[in-house]
Symmetry: C2
Subunit: 312 residues, 2 copies
């Protein structure tokens, strides 16, 4: 089966297989991506992140339903924070139980953090392109925004929605501050809880503090996802921000930055693979490692030398 | 001032400056690391990780005090989860208030997650080497183990202590499962809380479940850090595990793996820097990016071509 061709013809099976190929680094993956690439660049990519327990899954489901109500097709990539070791059952269960999967206009896929996170952000970027080529109007990348790399993943989005929730510990508040950098829009989810007003004030104060550093002051919305409250308004804000990105050419800027980062990441990954393959086959790498371990040489000098030899 | 020379002579100022040089990528950093490298490999490197709110900071302080009681010198690298944006005040405050900083036998340094996390794990590895060369007997790397990259950072340790705590949400429990892979020792901190027994049972069940995948079954200790309960026993376990690593040659294995990963990361980082510098200077990179963005070419083909040209 020509996966790319079938996918472009609208096959869900092909869509699923393409992502699997990318996720497991099958040989055909690069060929598929080459064929699909010309058909990308049309979807609105939304990153949703926030601390554990913020209710991102429920919120994502409601946002998807609202976009469906507006007649848009949606792809969801849920980055699974659990390890392959644990089977990543948590998200898996959620998705199996999810009635959205019965909707032909929605495609949900979870990706685990197996292997390097760098690898995952690359694979996520490819999965986004695959869903984009498959014609999804909106693509949502959902991840637990606690680690820098998880944050890096949503950085690849056109718009990043940061979900916060009242009544989390100080450490988590600290992390919240960490993702101020990438927030285009905030939503206080579970806004019916005590502390929603306090959190709102804190956020506004934080935004005041960094006002001069911010090109765009992220609006702070309120949602109670499980009761579907504030979802329509939130999606409207997401669409308004998309409009702003287009008018101001920021969309092009962001996508240029994304391409740069992707090309560089690909290059580094491929070179890493090349070096391990070739050098390991002729045992040179092992030798280097041994010299370093015996303190006969330092890695900094050896790497510099190796680089000189590698590069024309 | 010859930072490396002064550091090896025992200067705390030089130690601090060396880490600053690495953190800010000053030109002299590589030279310093080259000079220090031959003097590394003697410290016991302990990674401490766990979800936010597990009380890692307090636990780390108590472990340091216990090691001091045993007559060992200690270095602490606290990975600050907050962004440069937020000033990383949280850990900063903790450290300023920390009476340990008055102890000549202890050196505490926090490093922020500015720049790429990959960059940070590299910088953390260098900071460990710097403290190692400075003669610290034990080096503790403390990080919030919520993201894969934070986990990657502690993977660079000889021993990883995973701190868990009763009464955290499901999402966080899921993350806990994620770090089963790297846990050498567990401690249930705040063990005086309700749910400590339940958590203990859950952990044991999880370990039973992965029994066959585990070379070493991580012991589960209990601590109440703020009351200094269970700390001496925990440090004893850390030392027993160090003994086990030495006897079984696992220490050498782990350090070999670490060197391999470091060399590869360095290589990729340097090549990335080389490409951006040279290609950006002659505008080739920009050109590539534009072609890709206009969908005139796909990144996969261009990167493959570039690689062919780059490599001899």
């Amino acid at each position: 089966m020509d996966i790319a061709k079938e996918l472009l013809a609208g096959s869900r099976l092909a869509l699923s297989r393409a992502i699997t190929a990318v996720e497991n680094e099958y040989d055909e993956a690069v060929d598929i991506m080459k064929k699909l690439y010309p058909h990308t660049g049309n979807a609105y990519v939304i990153g949703i992140t926030g601390p554990p327990g913020a209710g991102k899954s429920t919120l994502t489901d409601k946002i998807v339903k609202e976009y469906r109500r507006l007649g848009k097709t949606v792809g969801v990539i849920a980055i699974d924070p659990t390890s392959p070791f644990s089977g990543g059952a948590i998200l898996g269960d959620r998705i199996r139980m999810n009635e959205l999967t019965l909707d032909e206009g929605v495609f949900i896929r979870s990706m685990g953090t197996r292997g390097s996170l760098g690898g995952l952000s690359h694979k996520t970027a490819d999965a986004v392109k695959i869903m984009d080529a498959a014609g999804k109007d909106v693509i949502i990348v959902e991840t637990v925004g606690v680690g820098q790399s998880e944050v890096d993943i949503v950085k690849a989005a056109d718009t990043t929605l940061v979900v916060v929730v009242p009544g989390l510990g100080d450490d988590i508040q600290a992390i919240k501050a960490g993702i101020l950098e990438i927030a285009d829009i905030f939503t206080i989810n579970k806004a019916d809880r005590d502390g929603a007003d306090k959190l709102n004030v804190e956020l506004e104060m934080m935004l005041d503090l960094y006002q001069d550093k911010l090109e765009w002051r992220p609006p702070i919305k309120r949602t109670v996802a499980h009761r579907n409250e504030g979802i329509a308004e939130l999606v409207q804000t997401l669409e308004e921000y998309y409009g702003y990105l287009k008018e101001t050419d920021k969309l092009t800027e962001r996508r240029t930055e994304r391409v740069k980062a992707e090309v560089l990441a690909m290059l580094e990954e491929n070179i890493g693979r090349y070096v391990t393959r070739t050098m390991q086959s002729d045992g040179e790498f092992e030798q280097m490692v041994q010299q370093i371990q015996k303190r006969e040489a330092d890695p900094y000098t050896l790497v510099a030398d190796l680089l000189k030899r590698l590069l024309k």
